[in-house]
């Protein structure tokens, strides 16, 4: 045991220390993911079923409607849903149910005793998680590509812009999932609210169907919600359907949702933490 006298530790003082923390948290995610290889592959298959169903349905509809619907050909639908699978892997984050488990199991209490906000370690963890997720996705993406022969017309700048849109899609979803998770501080029975949120996300994010295929009113509603920036926007960028100016605006809106969402998280957190009684946790 160290014989050094106890003293206030220096703590994280530089940007390097913060980066070190994100890297270590991310590494934990990679190690954790590698522990459950079979479960991850099963999960990947589960994730793929959803877009494949959409893909088959909409390709069929497009073919019966004279080759295209809402400006998408069957091959473009294939492209849309194949990119969807990658975006889905990237915007996966801590779900609100997980937040609830964390409170009930007393994990949050332990995290609150550390000199860092839990959202920071979560961020590092889920950023690291992208590495195994992308690796698991690659063979499935290739398989889908050969099966459905997609049409993707991205130019070089769109291919380069895609990772940025993809990363911010994750940041937007991460922030709002965290915000939703904070509801658990007020009530334990949160299933109905979560399901409502996920239904809205399904409708207004482009997850179920490209927004252009939706009625005009739905597109207007979607414009005021954060959801489309987590699915539709990055998919459209890589599909090559976004012009430079649209990308610039879209990216700024993503940043706006992240900044606004984060401010909201911090505001709610301040009140949530006062409610946290940790009885039995």
């Amino acid at each position: 045991m160290s014989t050094a006298a106890p003293s206030a530790q220096p703590g994280r003082t530089s940007l390097r220390d913060w980066i070190d923390m994100y890297v270590v948290a991310g590494r934990q995610a990679v190690m954790e993911a590698l522990q459950y290889r079979a479960a991850n592959v099963m999960f990947m298959v589960h994730v793929l079923i959803e877009p494949v169903i959409y893909l088959v349905v909409w390709s069929t509809v497009a073919n019966t409607q004279g080759g295209q619907i809402g400006g998408y050909t069957a091959a473009q639908f294939a492209g849309y849903y194949i990119i969807w699978t990658l975006v889905r892997q990237f915007n996966l984050t801590l779900g609100p149910y997980n937040f609830n488990w964390r409170i009930k199991e007393g994990r949050l209490a332990a995290e609150l005793l550390r000199p860092v906000h839990p959202i920071q370690t979560d961020l590092g963890f889920y950023l690291g998680y992208k590495i195994p997720q992308t690796l698991y996705w690659l063979p499935m993406g290739v398989l889908l590509w050969f099966l459905f022969k997609p049409e993707i017309n991205a130019q070089l700048w769109q291919i380069l812009a895609f990772p940025l849109a993809l990363m911010f899609a994750f940041f937007v979803r991460f922030t709002f999932m965290w915000l939703l998770g904070l509801v658990c501080f007020w009530t334990e029975k949160i299933d109905a609210l979560f399901e409502l949120y996920f239904t809205l996300e399904l409708l207004f994010s482009g997850r179920l169907v490209p927004l252009e295929v939706m009625p005009a009113w739905a597109q207007s509603v979607a414009a005021f919600l954060p959801f489309q920036w987590t699915f539709y926007f990055p998919i459209e960028v890589l599909l090559g359907r976004v012009q430079p100016a649209e990308f610039g605006w879209g990216f700024l809106i993503q940043v706006g949702w992240v900044v606004g969402g984060y401010a909201l998280v911090m505001f709610v957190w301040k009140h949530a933490i006062k409610r946290f009684t940790a009885v039995g946790s």
Binding site: M1, S2, T3, A4, A5, P6, S7, A8, Q9, P10, G11, R12, T13, D17, D20, M21, V23, V24, A25, R27, Q28, M31, E32, Q35, Y36, E105, G106, R107, A109, A110, L112, L113, R114, P115, V116, T121, I273, K274, F276, T277, A278, V279, S281
Partner: protein, 331 residues
Amino acid sequence: MSTGIRVKELTKIYKVPEREAGVKAAVVSLFKRKFKDVRAVDGVSFEIEPGEIVGFLGPNGAGKTTTLKMLSGLLYPTSGELSVLGYLPEKRERSFLQQITLVMGQRSQLNWDIPALDSYDLYRAIYGLPLEQYQKTRDEMIEVMMLGDLVKKPVRNLSLGERMKAEMVGALLHQPKVLFLDEPTIGVDVTMQRRIRTFIQEYNRKHKATVLLTSHYMADVQALCKRVIVIHHGKILYDGAFSGLVERFSAMKTLVVTTSEMNGNMPDLTKYGAVISNESNRIALRVSKSDAPQVTARLLADLPVTDLLVEDPPIEEVIESVFAMPSEEAK
């Protein structure tokens, strides 16, 4: 700036929903919810000096964990004053959290899916520990706890005792000045308990750290704490030397009498006190503290006594009787 723990009139009241059993009550509660105030901690005051190890005793629901959670900043007190290392815990300042730890024996802080060693690395990054200091502390603690290669196995594969030892190392890597230990030896076998106790003792000795410990195992308290605070129904019943506990709470004495062979002429022993055991020529009697001198004299006069011992009842028995006290008596 004060470096110990100061608590004055600390109170925590939980608002708990309340309703009768049955469907009718469930329907009524949909429209009209009733709440009840539960005083988990009720005007508690004490001070702990730096470097002290204090046992915090009480039955389940006495308010021990609630107090520890308030002291570590996890819970907001309803009223009262408290200060730990000069900080107001509820503010949860980074420099405060950097200097404390709370170990809850029934809760795991380590990531179950990866080896403890990897969780330790995350703690290093979170607490911003210099690499060399971290490695030195970690390796020395692993050695003292005799964890060896166990820290390289995923935590879910460890036994309860092994996990607890690994948890203790993780909780102390940042070398906190104040340790709140809530049942750190719960569910682990005697050997592991002893190892954990030694570890706490060593840490306290080398780092002059303040320790507030709750445990249902009297062996833990006896080995570690010169001073104990007994809490019951949210109020402090006793705050003083461990050795004074029996004196304060036990109204009984045990008389152990050994006699020479009486060839079946043993008188009725119940007239002296409650017979605890009667084996060959060795008799154990329970008598009230005030009657002990007279009963001893009568036994010496009436029986061919070869040996006589006057003992306090076992500490577990004393504590048990304190815990069984109704709230009115526990004031």
